[in-house]
């Protein structure tokens, strides 16, 4: 038994099995919460923990689409629906598939829901700690240009 476990064919088979179990499709910029976002529920704990400061930090949405294999891709120039007690409207994402919006406290706690077009599009909050977040890109640019 020990000889079998140390055999190179066993190791090779085990490596193949591990590769097969890994969902490579999830290696994209989207987290699992891809779909409709209720901004109040989404930011509640972050605001309480002090890591999101309403009125200072914009809410950055990453808009995406998915294909039949559930692979998800950024969706530039796609419309996102904003719906709350103040009405419903749609905003088009930029070439980087993002919508940046500053919300005051009344709006942050107003259960604004944000969603893509039904079926194919979803949105998620793009958090500050993500390396591809535009705030980080701005920061890198400022450091590189000697402003900071």
């Amino acid at each position: 038994m020990t000889a079998f476990l140390t055999h190179r064919y066993f190791v090779f088979t085990l490596a193949l099995a591990l590769c097969g179990c890994t969902d490579w499709r999830n290696q994209d910029p989207f987290s699992a919460s891809f779909g409709e976002v209720d901004i109040t529920n989404d930011l509640h704990h972050r605001i309480k923990a002090g890591i999101f400061q309403p009125n200072k930090e914009p809410v950055t949405l990453l808009v995406g689409t998915k294909d039949r294999l559930n692979r998800r891709f950024p969706a530039p120039e796609a419309f996102v629906r904003f719906s709350w007690e103040g009405g419903t409207f749609w905003v088009r994402s930029g070439k980087d598939a993002r919508v940046n919006v500053y919300l005051n406290k009344d709006t942050i706690f107003g259960h604004v829901s944000m969603a893509g077009q039904a079926g194919t599009l979803g949105v998620q909050r793009d958090f500050f700690e993500a390396p591809y977040h535009p705030i980080i890109q701005d920061f890198k640019m400022l450091v590189g240009s000697g402003v900071l």
């Binding site: 400061q53 009125n55 200072k56 905003v91 088009r92 940046n100 005051n104 009344d106 400022l142």
Partner: protein
């Protein structure tokens, strides 16, 4: 030879279908036929009533311009709800443009539209409150097209 031509014809047909499918996922706006320029903040429900009511799926393009008529990159389009104190400021693109469309339920509210400007390069940094880090647009105008 005949089989090859059939194969090419089928491939061409499949290619056309895939191209059409891909095009269908994008939003191509019709070229705007109306244009209004606002030098002061304006009431969305009053000024764009006909645009929203008659064709609610119509794209409305907002562009923030300076006094010389040049676009202000990454300017902010601020919408304020007077009834409930809500405020949303959307960042425009590098041409100062934001594309939106509205559903009819928004006409029940008084929504004022303003334009703000932030220093370039610091538009997304969380350094100060929105009110102190942004300045209302002066001597510029908001061009609205649909």
């Amino acid at each position: 030879m005949k089989q090859v031509s059939y194969l090419l014809a089928w491939l061409g047909l499949i290619g056309c279908i895939l191209m059409c499918w891909n095009c269908g996922t994008k939003n191509y706006a019709a070229s705007p036929s109306h244009e209004i320029s606002f030098t002061q903040p304006f009431n969305l429900s009053q000024e764009l009533l006909s645009a929203i009511k008659e064709q609610p799926k119509n794209e409305i393009h907002f562009q923030v311009l300076d006094k010389a008529g040049a676009p202000i990159p990454y300017a902010l389009l601020r919408m304020e709800w007077t009834e409930n104190g809500g405020r949303m400021s959307f960042q425009t693109d590098e041409h100062g443009t934001l594309h939106m469309h509205f559903e009819e339920d928004i006409l029940a509210f008084e929504v004022m539209v303003f334009a703000d400007v932030k220093p370039i390069g610091q538009d997304l940094l969380k350094t100060e409150d929105y009110e102190t880090s942004s300045t209302p647009l002066e001597e510029g105008h908001i061009l609205v097209r649909w």
